[in-house]
Subunit: 117 residues, 2 copies
């Protein structure tokens, strides 16, 4: 898992990808429909940006029934994890991340990965 540094930053430079990634890091694992709800962004847009993160090796996905869950790549380089952690710590005090998190918490019929894995 060797991500060119400038590619990594290029991926974090888009708001949809950045918000997705921070939510994923904060929550551990999220499926596409949770991100759609939390971010209030249409499905193809969310999927497209998640695919970019996956293709670069920043996240991995796993299918569970009809849902596809994304989490950080387990072998992310240290520097990348550090940057993501730094940004989560920063983002929790600012919009739009605060709102994204509460929208996620209030999502109705949220699928629960833990309950049925």
């Amino acid at each position: 898992m060797n991500i060119p540094i400038s590619q990594f930053f290029q991926l974090l430079s888009d708001d949809t990808r950045l918000r997705s990634l921070l939510l994923i890091q904060q929550e551990g694992e999220l499926c596409v429909c949770e991100l759609i709800h939390a971010l209030n962004i249409i499905q193809p847009k969310v999927s497209r940006h998640l695919a970019a993160l996956r293709d670069a090796g920043i996240v991995v996905d796993r299918r569970q029934g009809q849902w596809i869950y994304y989490r950080l790549h387990p072998e992310l380089p240290d520097w990348a994890s550090q940057v993501i952690d730094t940004m989560v710590a920063e983002a929790v005090t600012h919009e739009p991340f605060i709102h994204d998190l509460s929208a996620l918490a209030e999502m109705p019929n949220r699928p629960d990965a833990a309950c049925c894995a």
Copy 2:
């Protein structure tokens, strides 16, 4: 000095800007001609990218005679400094940064900011 997070990453996503910024952080302060030499990139390109960093508040410049020196903005937010420090630590072990640093060290007639400020 309040830089939107995604704009910050957008700026670091270009190789010329990233290499410039890491060199500036490593060296404390550099003028344009030093960067031109270290990076082996034509002058208008270097200047253009430095202007982008300056306009975003990531670096500040000062004129000293015919040279213009760039350094990190003294009031950069903590998260931004942390990210830059993380990346310098990473980059020193990889190309092209290693080469950039040695090209700078071997620059002939290198202006010395300290000697005549």
